[in-house]
Amino acid sequence: MEKNLPEKKKFNFKLTDTIILLIALIALVVFFGFMNKDFFKYDNISSMLKNMVITGILALGLTPLMIARGLDISFGASISFTGVLMAVLYARGTPLVPTMIIGIIAATLIGLLNGFLIETFDLLPIILTLGTMSIFTAIAYVMSGAHSLPMLTDQLYYFATKSFLKVPLPLFLLILFTIVFWFILTYTKIGRVIYIIGANPKVANLSGIKVKNVRIYLYTFMGVVAGVASIVMVAITGVGNPLAGARMSLPVLSAVVLGGISLAGGAGSVWGTTVGVLIVTVIFNGLSVLNVPSYYIQMFQGVALILIVSLYEIRNTRAARR
């Protein structure tokens, strides 16, 4: 009776979201390259890619969480707090490796706290993480006395500045993250569970999936990711800065939304997120190379975010009518 399914693959070319985004990305690259020759210089590309690492890691961490209809906007505060914490510990003579481990544990606990509170009390994720965001930003300020605390170590400096085959070392970390997240979401049971929860949490629950537990894991994992991002941040900047994380919220959330993750959950993929990160990075870097003042860049990013969300919404409404 059982037929072995011949996996019929259709080769008809479809204009998927990711392809549209790729085209937009290429168009942007060509545009900025045309406007300023410096854009294509090795130094610029290498620094652009390095800057992309933190945005990318965070956006990847958010991807499964948001597919499962969770949301965390406290990652910026988590980065600031962890960075300051590590700088303080290191300044008091804690060796580098324990410092980094404590940093990651601290960030993980923030994620766990977020997840536990949201899922136990059925809170709105955006509100709860807004709360933890302000709490940990404040703690970071108090701990640092509102100053950047230096944390220069040979190992982190090496990691942040050296290249292998002309590829900056931090970029390897991002590539590793991308592969791991893609693998998890595509080939593992937890990946499937995440998509089922995203499609309909109630159905997932009534299928005997522990939706709340899964989400708590995802929030906790987002904490781990923020911890790693914080270490990369300290490595690249050489300081634990209480302001460091706040700047990350807009580009990271823009990248994720651009990549096709709806704030209502359910949809999204690692490739979408990756392209989203690339686009956000290219826009930021491209405008910087053109000497556009940073406040204007920020304004432009905000406008772009609103545009993207509206376009997706209009398209979804159209699709629903078909």
Binding site: L5, K189, R192, A199, N200, N205, L206, G208
Partner: protein, 498 residues
């Protein structure tokens, strides 16, 4: 049929509609007289919904013509259909429960004075007028959430006819109503008819056809297969047209040997919704729970499956006491659940058939963390075939399936998990006759393999034909236990209402 040309309100001529890979409508032609009630019958997937969505402007018209009052119309949006006097009341009600009755009736077009400020008094007065015309004494200031399903339905009707409606389409309006509300609905429909409104009435309950309609159009496999005056036809003839094959009208129950007691429930309580419920069920048994709206039957099932936490009581599976605090625990104890709200709780609509079927059993599909697509395909494919699902394949998105096939996917989820105790909440709600019989067959097949099936159903003929035993519930408690072959509709109804 023989209607004078100028008495025709609506004509739909040679309507065809294609979806990728499926012909949803094939050259369907019918008309609707002024003040006529036309019954539209057909199995799920026969094309009824598609036809209505073309009329309502939700789908674009590809082939064919629509005439309203003799005038050719092309609807490019639902708005234009509304403008033309067409109102559709869907099976799933779209009410705003946190708002008042009056606000619901005037939703979107609140009554305002010339300064753009809402004129509450006028709005409430007009709402009361509309409701009185419908023969209802519902208070316009009442909050929607306090209304029964029947009451909400009435508000939907009030909303639909607030502005002059020429054509009213009702899609299975009685599927969730209590007997009393059904009678009120009938009188409202008749009243609208007497005022000259033309009505297309879609239902699966053939009794309603004889109760209400003047004429019947039957669709099957996207084509119109029959059109008769109601007074000239019979139940048997209609069923024959719907399914296209001879089907004994009443489902004949097979005799299945009963085994050991598999499921015991002792003194279960849940707040004041379920009171001291005790029963036990043997392998091979189909036990029905019957009760009117609010009797606690559905809540009981949610509690047994761990979706709601019981306040007190004990549950035993195969003689062992089990602690069911979450559906996950129910699943581990071989309990499967087919929820009442299929589209919101049973299947994940945006996912594929394959992904839905294996959702209950991911632990066993592949080693460790890895999901094994080969095993998954094999499992899903075997249920796909055993339950003879009608779909292009495993990769079909569940949203595009008919109700009956979606229900099969829900059943398959629990078969995949090797469940032995099936809790089925209205498993045949909104499902066509052919699929209903298939669901009954599946239930019996499960029983003959040593499972036990518990069914909540509001349809007495269904309960009487499928079950071995019947528990009647009232106000959260069991009001009576009956052996199916020794009882009848009247006795059960008496027990439920006494």
């Amino acid at each position: 049929m023989n209607i004078e040309k100028n008495d025709i309100m609506l004509e739909m001529k040679n309507i065809s509609k294609n979806f990728p890979g499926v012909k949803a409508l094939d050259d369907v032609t019918f008309d609707l007289g002024k003040g006529e009630i036309l019954g539209l019958l057909g199995e799920n997937g026969a094309g009824k919904s598609t036809l209505i969505k073309i009329l309502s402007g939700d789908y674009s018209l590809e082939e064919g013509e629509i005439y309203i009052d003799g005038e050719k119309k092309i609807f490019t949006s639902p708005h234009e259909s509304l403008e033309a006097g067409i109102r559709v009341i869907y099976q799933e009600l779209n009410t705003f429960d946190a708002l008042t009755v009056a606000e619901n009736i005037f939703a979107g077009q609140l009554v305002r004075n010339k300064f753009g400020i809402i004129n509450w008094n006028k709005m409430v007065k007009e709402a009361r007028q509309i409701l009185t015309n419908l023969g209802s004494d519902i208070n316009p200031n009442e909050y929607m959430e306090n209304l029964s399903v029947g009451g909400k339905q009435l508000i939907e009707i009030a909303k639909a006819i607030r502005k002059k409606a020429k054509i009213l389409v009702m899609d299975e309006p009685t599927s969730a109503l209590s007997e009393k509300d059904v009678l009120i609905l009938y009188s409202v429909v008749r009243k609208l008819k007497s005022e000259g409104v033309s009505i297309i009435y879609i239902t699966h309950r053939i009794e309603e056809i004889f109760e209400l309609t003047d004429r019947v159009v039957v669709l099957r496999d996207a084509k119109k297969v029959g059109e008769v005056l109601t007074k000239d036809t019979s139940r048997a003839e209609l069923i024959n047209m719907i399914v296209g094959r001879k089907l004994s009208e009443q489902y004949k129950k097979k005799d299945i040997t009963k085994g050991r007691i598999i499921f015991e429930v002792k003194n279960i309580n849940y707040l004041d919704k379920v009171k001291d419920v005790t029963f036990s069920i043997k392998q091979g048994e189909i036990v029905a729970f019957f009760g009117l709206l609010g009797s606690g039957t559905h809540t009981l099932f949610s509690v047994l499956f761990g979706d709601k936490k019981k306040t007190s009581g004990e549950i035993c599976v195969e003689g062992k006491k089990v602690d069911i605090r979450h559906p996950f625990a129910a699943k581990l104890n071989k309990i499967g659940y087919i929820p009442y709200d299929r589209k919101e709780e049973g299947v994940a609509l945006p996912l594929k058939i394959r992904e839905n079927i294996t959702a209950t059993n991911l632990e066993n599909i592949g080693k460790g963390f890895m999901l094994d697509r080969n095993i998954e395909n094999k499992h899903a494919q075997s249920w796909f075939e055993k339950l003879s699902m009608k779909a292009p394949g495993l990769e079909t998105i569940v949203k595009s399936l008919s109700g009956g096939n979606q229900q099969k996917v829900v059943v398959a989820k629990w078969l995949e998990r090797n469940s032995k105790i099936f809790l089925m909440s209205e498993p045949t709600r909104g499902i066509d006759i052919g699929s209903k019989a298939e669901i009954y067959e599946i239930a019996e097949e499960l029983c003959s393999q040593g499972a036990a099936v518990l069914i909540v159903s509001g349809e007495l003929p269904e309960i009487l034909s499928i079950s071995d035993r019947i528990f009647v519930m009232k106000d959260g408690a069991i009001a009576g236990e009956f052996i199916t072959k020794n009882t009848n509709q009247e006795e059960l109804m008496h027990s439920a209402t006494a």
